[in-house]
């Protein structure tokens, strides 16, 4: 492939495939207006049509993912808000949600948490903190290949807990590529080095609520359901298992791609930027992370803390107006679309109705958990992780809250979010995978085998084993009355 094929980058051009997809989307949207589903409220019918449209558009990416997101918000306002163009029947109208609340999803608290993460990440890249830290942290790992892979994975995972997985993977691949070029041609170690980065980025993203958007979507939905999972709570639950799976992934990569090369020379010249603006940034970064970790002590919610670097770095001019334009707003808006859709689904009772279609008491807990996680893994192997979370989280949480189901909404949210991150078997599965694959250092087969193995190990650890530990240690958050 020499040029992008994604519809998103080809501007306004209209291919036949895209046209057909849009027609299918339109048909999907129309169905609930024509067919009356017994037991579903009029509002539910309308949300169902938006939901079906979202499924088709997010699955096919006929229009950019964030375009679908804003379309969802707009349609919800047009059809089910208090200012709906076609008003809801009289008896439902008083309950209609104010249209402003759907717009407000664009500034949902969880998005402020992410915005803080973006501002920190953009500054880190601006002052080359990421690259310099990577080199400093790699230094103690010596020259032995297996320990260098360990060091690379550790640095990548820690960065991707606080920065975007994609940006981390790209930066780290830029550090690794010159190392790979020093290896003799055909050395299997090259593939091991290149694969360690995306897998560590995907796994590291599981570690914090801002590690990757699906986590935030899950946390936001849990909050709506009455469970307040803080930054530190999430890390306490997830981090130990992230470490376990990372070590397993490291051993597998190290063993699978072992070679005769016994020594790797690292280029480790790091020069930290010490101008005042950079120092303001370092301090702000440290304080923000510290406040995130210590929510229990000061009571400031992580979403509030997330706004701190935004305010401080903009006020001090460290983060300039030009930098602001480089914020990935489309990611925030994609999440907003998911949050709006979730709110619409909940308010209209569509979730209850869809879940009521199956008698879940007949389905065993194990099967149910497997179902939730495996659907998420399969979907997110092929489509965007965020879009997957946007579609599955609202249903999964309601399912967990219904009677006769033995998993809690927190578990359901965590399972879905983690499953999205565990899908890493194909180059298209996640942006970090695509970045690593672009170097041409390893084959798709290499990635499939390692990615699938890590996915399976991760699934066993996170989905089957972790809940036992959380229950035993009482780490599961209780419902907080709102």
């Amino acid at each position: 492939m020499t040029e992008p094929t994604a519809a998103a980058s080809s501007g306004g051009s209209m291919t036949v495939g895209r046209m057909i997809t849009l027609i299918i989307a339109l048909i999907a949207f129309t169905i609930p207006w024509l067919i009356n589903f017994p037991g579903l409220s009029p509002e539910g019918h309308r949300v169902l049509s938006v939901f079906l449209l979202a499924v088709v558009l997010w699955l096919t990416e006929a229009i950019p993912l964030h375009a679908t997101a804003v379309l969802i918000i707009f349609l919800l306002i047009l059809f089910i808000s208090d200012r709906a163009l076609i008003p809801l029947p009289e008896e439902y109208a008083p309950d209609a949600v104010s249209f402003g609340q759907y717009f407000a999803t664009l500034a949902d608290p969880i998005l402020m948490l992410f915005l803080g993460g973006f501002v920190l990440a953009n500054c880190a890249s601006k002052y080359h903190l990421d690259k310099n830290l990577a080199r400093v942290v790699l230094r103690p790992f010596g020259t032995s290949p297996i320990w260098i892979i360990f060091g690379l994975m550790l640095v990548t995972a820690v960065f991707s807990m606080f920065m975007s997985n994609t940006a981390t993977a790209a930066t780290m691949m830029a550090v690794v590529l010159p190392i790979i070029r020093t290896l003799p041609p055909g050395d299997r170690l090259a593939a091991g080095l290149a694969l360690s980065i995306p897998f560590a980025a995907n796994l590291g993203g599981i570690g914090t609520p801002i590690g990757t958007p699906p986590n935030a979507i899950a946390v936001s939905a849990m909050f709506e359901a009455g469970y307040d999972v803080g930054f530190f709570d999430w890390m306490m639950m997830m981090l130990p298992f992230v470490i376990v799976v990372m070590v397993a992934a490291w051993l597998m990569i190290g063993w699978f791609f072992r070679s005769d090369t016994k020594e790797i020379k690292l280029q480790i010249d790091s020069k930290f930027n010490l101008e005042p603006a950079a120092i303001i940034f370092y301090v702000t970064f440290a304080v923000t992370v510290l406040l995130w970790m210590t929510e229990a002590l000061h009571g400031m919610a992580s979403t509030m803390v997330g706004f701190l670097p935004v305010v401080v770095l903009i006020s001090t001019g460290v983060f300039t107006t030009k930098d602001m334009q480089s914020i990935q707003w489309h990611v925030l808006w994609l999440m907003a679309g998911g949050i709006a859709l979730g709110a619409g689904v909940r308010h209209s009772g569509l979730d209850q109705w869809m879940i009521g279609l199956v008698d879940w008491e007949q389905v065993g807990t194990l099967l149910l958990v497997a179902l939730l996680s495996i659907i998420s893994i399969i979907l997110s192997t092929f489509i965007s992780n965020t879009a997957t979370a946007n579609l599955i989280v609202p249903l999964g949480l309601t399912l967990a809250a219904s009677s006769g189901v033995a998993i809690s909404p927190v578990e359901a949210g965590v399972f879905i979010a983690v499953s999205c991150s565990l899908a890493m078997a194909l180059p298209v599965s996640t942006p970090p995978n695509a970045i690593a694959y672009s170097t041409g250092v390893f084959s798709t087969r290499n990635m499939m085998i390692m990615g699938a193995m890590i996915g399976v190990v991760g699934w066993v650890i996170f989905i089957q084993f972790a809940p036992l530990v959380w229950d035993a240690l009482g780490l599961m958050p209780e419902v907080t009355p709102q």
């Binding site: 492939m1 020499t2 040029e3 992008p4 094929t5 994604a6 980058s9 993912l65 973006f118 990440a121 890249s125 990421d130 975007s164 997985n165 994609t166 940006a167 981390t168 993977a169 790209a170 930066t171 691949m173 830029a174 550090v175 590529l177 010159p178 993203g205 990757t212 958007p213 480089s326 990935q328 990611v331 994609l334 965007s384 992780n385 965020t386 996640t430 942006p431 695509a434 970045i435 672009s438 170097t439 041409g440």
Partner: protein
Amino acid sequence: MNQVLVLCIEDEQEVRDAILRDLEPFAEHFQVEAAETADAAREVLQEALARKDKLGLVLCDHLLPGQSGVDFLVELKKDERTAVARKVLITGQASLEDTVKAVNEAGLDSYIAKPWKREELQEIVVKQLTEFVLGNVEELLPYVSVLDGPRLLEEVGRRKADK
């Protein structure tokens, strides 16, 4: 599908073949075309632009039958569709005056003196195409394996966040 065109203009067949041989590693990712004269090059270019391809790099000899290489480069610089293309002169016979004109009026990016070494030419092509791709192409990943990978990846890191 929009491609990036690499255009090589050289009237002597042996030399042209040598350049094309050195450009082989890029043929999978770029549309590599060769022409004998400026007129022939213009024709190739018009076809490419009609397909919505972009001109990425011109490797041009100076002494050609008809329009000179430097004059052709100046013409490319004036056309807004080709102004951003990277321009390289491969020649042994350009006078100082011609060279100054190429730098000042065509925005010459690099100069390769004949005879050249394979590695030297490829290094210049990688550098120039990397510059072009960074400034003019949205999707950088397809070029990581053939151009300056670390530079492209750093830019990807700056541009991208999770989808």
